[in-house]
Subunit: 348 residues, 2 copies
């Protein structure tokens, strides 16, 4: 039985190979631009040169396939994060959905303000308010139940300003970089301050990144038998914060290798880029600067752009980037297209 | 430049494909037994049947490739763990190596007994003694330095009874299962109570399992600049214990999918197998019973075998296996060969 199965697989491989041989004969694919949504400029050139140098056998910068690890921040690097990160919109919607079961929220912050529609006052409580909000909306259910809640929400939830679904606000140029790197043997990872379980239900369809290549912040879970069924229950207790100096820690914990390429957009990514560069040899570090108010949002405060509470790219990080030779992408000048061309679909 | 690189890769693929086509024409490979070190019996049959059912298109138990996750305990499942786990031998050797820098150890347990060669007394302090031993030998250096220490040690360290190197005491039948599963689209993971950073330096060469597919217990690390260089320093503080009900938690944290197959050998693996089975549908659970005193070690205490301090397979777990339909492997009866046939080499 094994023999016939193995035989079948070999036959399939050979069929694919013959197709490959036929297409190799044609010149079309060989001339395709892997990054069509990028304007020709130093950023695009830097990406393409680096990939060529690290994947060409015999090149002094050649990197073997198993070591081709590329890590990407999510919020602000792969999709929009303004005026507040998508996961916060999710939490606000969950407060509204759960409020009938929590009459006490009417008199308790940050819930009272959220239920009145006053997000600004709700978030004025800072980290403590956000933490309370996250625990009330992200814990208490099993991991399977939470996955279902996120999956249902993300399929329709829209950005209040653009009217687009959040999943349609991924960045086309970055989707092209992800695909280009994978085509060249790189393993692409998300390394985000956002919740690991909030991202995993949709990253495969949105970015081609499977759950096991998503690293993020997390709350604790507990294994238990519920009605005789083994489940993991989500506890209202922080487990790990995958931001700033947590990012190198998360990368080491999950991957156990130092990245060769790292992509971010804010001061929360600084240590990930430093850690990547610290490996020596061929390394590539990139930061996206949001300077395109017309097509997306403009914020820094680097280069005099408006300051923001979450996702700031400060001037000192910009100066460090210039000094260290990191690539800084101007969304305005480097990107022909901002948002994903193809609409996100659960049936993809 | 990209075009020529892409062209080169296509050419390589086609060359591989032509070789494949030639070998397909021959009947030899198609008849190869994927598990030659397993005696024909219920265990071998169960493994082969399950793989066939879950990988045959159109089968009611078909599992898509991305969901083909197989998790393996390490100590006692993939290599020997008696009379004490290999990582403890490593810790004992480190105490001896570090003792000149720690004159105070002469009067302090568990170090004093270790330095006198009395391991039994040293470990009589139980979990507390082991924890102290691990922290003294596994923390204080960078992750890169620790990797080097492990790599150097594992290349030569030998088992006191068999005289074999520990890396040559991996189990040939399990190496065959790992290779067989990967050939059928399964992603193989280690999920061990052992230290994640102790395993990663050698699992790729020993098992074909890369660092990012190793899950284990860990201590905390801290990102910092040391002499201006960004490093992760290992702290003497527990981070996560990947044993018993920690195994499903670790699996969810690292993989984000429920395994389809799970392999273990002790009560420390019970919850991993329960969690795997709890996914419903096609699932495969297996436990190795060490009942071969002549070729390896015999311990349970299931089925009246001698009891052990670490790695016990208790009677209640055996009874649960029978009740739940888990496969229990008798090393004595199911395995033709116990230890790896090919010697481990750093140059493989």
């Amino acid at each position: 039985m094994i023999a016939s199965n193995s035989r079948f697989q070999r036959l399939r491989l050979c069929a694919i190979a013959l197709l490959c041989w036929v297409s190799f004969a044609g010149p079309v694919l060989a001339q395709t631009d892997p990054l069509p949504s990028w304007n020709d400029g130093t950023a695009k050139k830097a990406i393409v040169s680096f990939v060529k140098e690290t994947t060409t056998q015999g090149s002094p910068k050649f990197v073997p396939v198993p070591e081709r690890i590329a890590t990407f921040d999510n919020d602000g690097t792969l999709w929009s994060e303004q005026p507040i990160p998508v996961q916060l919109y999710f939490a606000l919607d969950r407060v509204k959905a759960l409020s009938p079961q929590h009459p006490e929220w009417k008199d308790k912050e940050p819930f009272a303000s959220i239920l009145k529609g006053d997000v600004k006052t709700a978030l004025a409580g800072g980290d403590r308010a956000i933490l309370e909000l996250l625990m009330a909306t992200h814990a208490g259910m099993t991991t399977v139940e939470f996955e279902r809640i996120v999956t249902d929400w993300i399929a329709t939830a829209k950005h209040p300003k653009t009217g687009k679904r959040f999943v349609d606000m991924t960045y086309q140029p970055m989707l092209e970089v992800l695909a280009y790197l994978r085509a060249n043997g790189f393993k692409t990872y998300i390394v985000s301050g956002g919740g690991i379980e909030f991202m995993r239900p949709w990253t495969e369809k949105a970015y081609g990144i499977p759950p096991e290549q998503v690293i993020g912040s997390s709350i604790k879970t507990k294994f238990e038998l519920r009605d005789g069924k083994p489940v993991l229950t989500r506890l209202p207790e922080l487990n790990f914060i995958d931001d700033k100096d947590g990012k190198p820690v998360g990368i080491n914990q999950h991957i156990g290798r130092r990245p060769v390429m790292a992509f971010g957009n804010s001061n929360g990514d600084q240590q990930m880029l430093e850690y990547t560069q610290g490996g020596g040899g061929a390394r590539f570090m990139l930061l996206v600067l949001h300077d395109d108010a017309a097509r997306e949002f403009a914020y820094g405060p680097a280069k005099g752009l408006p300051d923001v509470a979450l996702g700031a790219f400060k001037q000192d990080l910009y100066d460090q980037s210039m000094k260290q030779g990191w690539t800084v992408v101007s969304m305005k000048n480097d990107w022909k297209q901002v948002f994903a061309i193809k609409k996100w679909s659960t049936t993809d």
